[in-house]
């Protein structure tokens, strides 16, 4: 596109180059402005669509909503289920992802680091329905002994209260499957940032007599902190919205504290399981649930940005 603009000018040294550069600049800035506006427009359209379709739910009398006690009573168990599943995933995947990334970037010899990094990247390419199938057929049943043990010995903690599920299709299993699914996001992004830590600062730490772990704590982790937060938030977004894996793995039911019994449900899985047969008010209800999920994700992102902004003054950027 920019070539057609530049060839219009007569060939005469520096003027032509300057004019071509300016035309290229304005074309590029128009394109990028257009792309930015388009993204905002799509986002607004989605929000408007969700709101309009959800409107009947908010207007309907309480007894017509599923459960018969209004939209709030219907949605809050799903919100909690969604958040809990995502939190289980992050509690497992964040430390593991960071450790694996550190191992690849700062401990493993190159001939091991490369294949390990490659395998982690491959995990991200596996479709979520495969994770769901694996979780429900293999993982769930193999976790049953652990759940039985937990119910017996840790049952006094509400999240482990028995009787344990004998199929293993529980919230905890769903959380573990989600953890494996978001692990590549955290690992790949963290590793990318860990290896960008300036050598200059790593050497400063080592020259003061820091061990390798102390060097990582003094330079690599602080340098990477905004990146780690971004990767965790991205992973959280993925875990909140993940549908297939949860729908297949979880034997859903009403909200309950125990994570090792059947029960609980997430918004995304609720929508996926019910959408095909829904019409009328039920359809509007599910879309309203989708709107709530959209808002949760939005809030999560805003919190992430606020956290990153707080560290700006001390970031490596200045």
């Amino acid at each position: 596109m920019s070539t057609t603009v530049t060839t219009k000018e007569p060939a005469s040294g520096i003027r032509r180059a300057a004019a071509g550069g300016q035309a290229g600049d304005s074309v590029f800035s128009a394109l990028s402005l257009g792309a930015g506006v388009l993204i905002l427009a799509v986002l607004a359209a989605v929000a408007v669509f969700l709101s309009l379709q959800a409107l009947p739910t908010f207007r309907a009398p309480a007894e017509e909503i599923s459960g018969g006690a209004g939209f709030f009573s219907y949605i809050w168990p799903l919100v909690i289920g969604t958040v809990v599943a995502a939190l289980i995933a992050l509690v497992i995947a964040t430390p593991l992802g960071i450790l694996v990334a550190l191992y690849i970037s700062h401990y493993a010899p190159a001939r091991i680091a490369k294949p390990v990094g490659y395998i982690i990247d491959l995990l991200a390419a596996i479709p979520s329905v495969v994770y769901g199938a694996w979780g429900t057929t293999v993982l769930a049943s193999s976790l049953v002994p652990f759940y039985t043990w937990a119910a017996e010995h840790l049952g006094f903690i509400p999240i482990f209260s028995g009787p344990a599920s004998q199929t293993g299709k529980t919230m905890f299993t769903a959380g573990i499957v989600l953890a494996i699914m978001v692990l590549p996001i955290i690992t790949a992004m963290s590793r990318e940032i860990f290896i960008q830590t300036p050598k200059l600062h790593e050497e400063a730490a080592l020259a003061l007599g820091a061990t390798r772990w102390e060097m990582i704590r003094m330079t690599v982790l602080p340098f990477a902190r905004p990146g780690i937060i971004s990767s965790v938030m991205l992973a959280l977004g993925r875990a909140l919205g993940e549908t297939m894996a949860v729908a297949l793995v979880l034997s859903s039911g009403p909200l309950m504290a125990s994570l090792i019994q059947s029960g609980n449900q997430t918004i995304a899985a609720e929508i996926a399981l019910n959408f095909p047969e829904a019409y009328g008010l039920r359809l509007s209800e599910l879309i309203a649930a989708g709107l709530i999920l959209f808002l949760i994700t939005l809030v999560v992102n805003m919190i992430a940005r606020a956290i990153i902004a707080r560290y700006k003054e001390f970031s490596g950027a200045n």
Partner: protein, 259 residues
């Protein structure tokens, strides 16, 4: 506190490439020793073997002996981490930790190995280290601001404060003023002059006037061509190296007649 260094038979390799060959040299305590020579002759490489910082580079290794007051730094069971806490280093580009305040930068080395230090002791150490680096008056009102907000020359003096806060025996400097303006350079040179009251200072510089201004002894390194190892050509009192060198190569280099 300040110790002497004796190097014997030292060879340094990057993989199979012999970068520095057969160095033998004694460095006095409480003195400034300058390394000069053309670029690529192995000054930085040799300097790094004096606190085992070369081991950070994959494939780099040293053979031979480096004695710190008679103790072999390469002896069996010697931990490079301990060596580096006794022999500090200042780099060519100022490298304060960007995520730390000025105060935390000074204390960074002191807090290693989970050492605890009381608030009062820490304050005193921050002040004395910054005084020692001629930086106290410029930063005493903004100790909690990031170190990366200082000018280049101030950052370099902060790095020197950070190095002396751990009370090393020796301070190694690799072209510490080459990225700085003339006024900051002068400030660093003045500081080096004061540091030799308490420390053994070894400095690499490509600036011969600087070497003659600040050092007691000078070592001239040279290289016969690319791919050849760097060698120590001549080592002696700075005045002799510059006014009355024994080797023709040295004379060619210090008189600027270098090919």
């Amino acid at each position: 506190m300040s110790k002497r260094i004796d190097v014997d038979n030292l060879n340094v390799y990057y993989g199979d490439f012999l970068a520095v060959e057969d160095v033998k040299m004694g460095i006095d305590a409480r003195s400034v020793t300058a390394f000069i020579g053309p670029s690529g002759c192995g000054k930085s490489t040799f300097l790094r073997t004096l606190n085992r910082m070369h081991e950070v580079i994959p494939g780099a290794r040293a053979e031979g002996q480096v004695l710190l007051d008679g103790e072999d730094l390469y002896g069996p069971g010697v931990d490079p981490v301990v060596v580096r806490s006794m022999i500090g280093m200042v780099f060519q580009r100022p490298n304060p930790f960007p995520t730390m305040s000025i105060r935390d930068n000074v204390l960074a080395g002191v807090k290693l190995n989970s050492k605890r230090i009381s608030r009062g002791d820490a304050d005193a150490l921050v002040e004395s280290s910054l005084q020692g680096a001629n930086l106290w008056n410029e930063v005493k009102d903004r100790l909690d601001k990031p170190g990366s907000g200082l000018s280049g020359g101030q950052q370099q003096r902060l790095c020197i404060a950070r190095a002396i806060a751990v009370k090393p025996d020796v301070i190694l400097m690799d072209e510490p003023a080459s990225a700085l303006d003339p006024i900051s350079t002068l400030a660093i040179e003045d500081l080096i002059n004061e540091l030799k009251q308490d420390y053994t200072v070894v400095i690499v510089t490509h600036n011969m006037q600087q070497a003659s201004r600040i050092s007691d002894r000078t070592a001239f390194f040279n290289i016969q061509g690319t791919g050849k190892p760097g060698k120590l050509i001549e080592y002696g009192p700075t005045s002799e190296i510059f006014s009355n060198p024994k080797q023709q190569q040295t004379e060619d280099y210090v008189s600027g007649r270098f090919g």
